[in-house]
Symmetry: C2
Subunit: 339 residues, 2 copies
């Protein structure tokens, strides 16, 4: 009897799944509400990929760049990479016990969250340098991969890699389906983001541009060559560093760029200054309920991360960038919500 009932129930469920599948195939951006943001993306893709359109872009020049933290995934309450570095301090002092009683490492080891929140940018930089350099490229990659597979966001209790924005995943796929090469251009560490970008976004390591340190080529005792991560910054991929990094690593001006903070301003300006159709989009975090709301554009106090200032908002309006409202433009925020 129970068995029979289950069988009957299964029929309408299958029908629902199928019709959702059909709707998805027709709409490349199903998690976006109709509105100027969705329209801007679709019109840009149509104009630049339709043969004969005056704004047609040849396939080899189709480059799109995306900031990561706050644009492709959650950046609050703390950048994922900073959390990684803070958590690495405990492992680090095992091999370098002399750091145990030195600041800022002592504060980090205390576990006192309030004291940690008061650490200066200089302190954070010291922590980043010792936790992101001094080991081989392969060892770093293995450690970061292990951490990212296990660490969880405190609010959603899910791996950070699940906290990507479903609507942005759809934009990545839609652009790639139309011949665009998608790049991450992040202020975060290039090697850190490369560890998971392929699995999380389908973006291979060679398409991740980030803040990058030097490496040093050498040989181990058996004569095998390897690269060591050096505490020397080659590229600070924030602000003006973003277009500079794009030139260094890609060598072409993007046709589309996506950001969410003043750190992305120059990248958006550089993109928009090119000829033809150029898409510049900036994500406004205005959804305290489903994600976060921050930045003075909402009359909220400025924060350390993801600063979307009034000046940036004004520049966006003036220069024809499209502002994405998380609250109004997105039907769903995370992939796990739309499954």
């Amino acid at each position: 009897m129970k068995h029979k009932r289950l069988k009957i129930l299964s029929v309408p469920i299958i029908v629902v799944v199928l019709s959702a599948g059909v709707a998805r195939a027709q709409d490349p951006l199903p998690s976006w509400n109709d509105g100027p943001a969705k329209q801007a993306i679709v019109e840009f893709v149509k104009a630049t990929t339709t043969q004969g359109n005056p704004q047609f872009v040849p396939p080899e020049a189709r480059i799109a760049t995306f900031d990561q933290d706050g644009t492709l995934w959650v950046e609050h309450p703390m950048y994922t990479q900073v959390t990684y570095c803070l958590e690495r301090v405990a492992a680090l002092v095992k091999t370098r016990p002399e750091l145990k009683n030195k600041e800022p490492f002592k504060t980090v080891l205390s576990g006192n969250r309030e004291a940690m929140a008061r650490l200066s940018q200089d302190d954070l930089m010291k922590i980043l340098v010792v936790t992101l350099s001094g080991m081989s490229v392969d060892d770093f990659s293995a450690e970061a991969k292990k951490w990212i597979a296990e660490a969880k966001d405190p609010r959603w209790k899910r791996p950070y890699t699940e906290l990507t924005y479903q609507p942005m995943q759809e934009v990545l796929q839609y652009l790639r389906a139309n011949g665009y090469k998608t790049y991450i251009v992040t202020g975060g560490g290039q090697d850190f983001v490369r560890v998971y970008a392929e699995q999380v976004y389908g973006i291979p390591p060679e398409q991740v541009v980030g803040s990058a340190g030097g490496t040093k080529f050498g040989y181990d005792k058996s004569g095998k060559p390897f690269l060591t991560k050096e505490p020397k910054l080659l590229l600070n991929d924030n602000n003006a560093g973003k277009p500079e990094g794009i030139h260094l690593m890609i060598g072409r001006r993007p046709f589309a760029s996506f950001g969410n903070s003043t750190g992305d301003r120059q990248m958006l300006e550089y993109t928009k200054a090119g000829d033809g159709a150029r898409l510049a989009m900036i994500l406004l975090h205005d959804d305290a309920e489903r994600e976060y709301a921050y930045g003075p554009a909402q009359g909220l106090p400025d924060t350390k991360v993801g600063t979307f200032t009034q000046a940036l908002y004004d520049e966006a309006k003036k220069n024809g960038w499209t502002v994405i409202s998380m609250k109004n433009d997105w039907k769903a925020i995370f992939p796990f919500e739309s499954k």
Copy 2:
């Protein structure tokens, strides 16, 4: 009568062309003689791209790197880029007349080839810095593009861009047809090589890794953003700089690398140190008649460029790199010979 004869002659010619076309389709490397070098390439491609083979490499990891000067095109008697920089000095002193009577610019302007050949590495570096920086990225690109379209090699009286090696062009195409991403990894200037790499080799700007200077983001008088080439070296892409540059720009270890000098040693070592099938090949210039012969491996005196030393030859033999003999392995040298 004469007319009829010509008609009769044309028949066998068409047949020959067609059968050569068929042979080409069957052999991906028609300009290579049968031998260990050709065999090494074909076996590597088969092993790494055949599903089920223990040495199979997934498509996203298929990376192949090529030195440029002396590996993909002629580097004698002088690197093309050095010729460009020397020729730019005349244009440069028009805007910066104070350099006219200063060394090493004075010597370059004298046109005295013997005196120019005696310029030190430091002198050359000074010339490279002032001719490759201080202008916008777009201006540099336009100037270099114009020069490369007009300049000719003194021996063959052809544009430098025609002096690529036909057998290496076939290797590039063969690897790409088998899912490999092909990169140039050159000691030459990244921005210089990017100007022609797509047209000459089918390699897009984002797949050119080279010695790279910094750029500086700024705005012109109308507020339009642009990048200026700075005289600051970010990456010296020679020797140990090659694997370091590969890590910075690609983030994966190549499965195949091709070089021709001690400047490629570390790249070849780094490639060969990876797991599974790895192809390391080094080109020996031993064909004075069709191209050049240089390097002590031929008992010839060492030269400033493209140094293939005895130590490098010994390392190649010891580590399982394959030496390509230009004289014995290549049927044709240049594309214009096989057309």
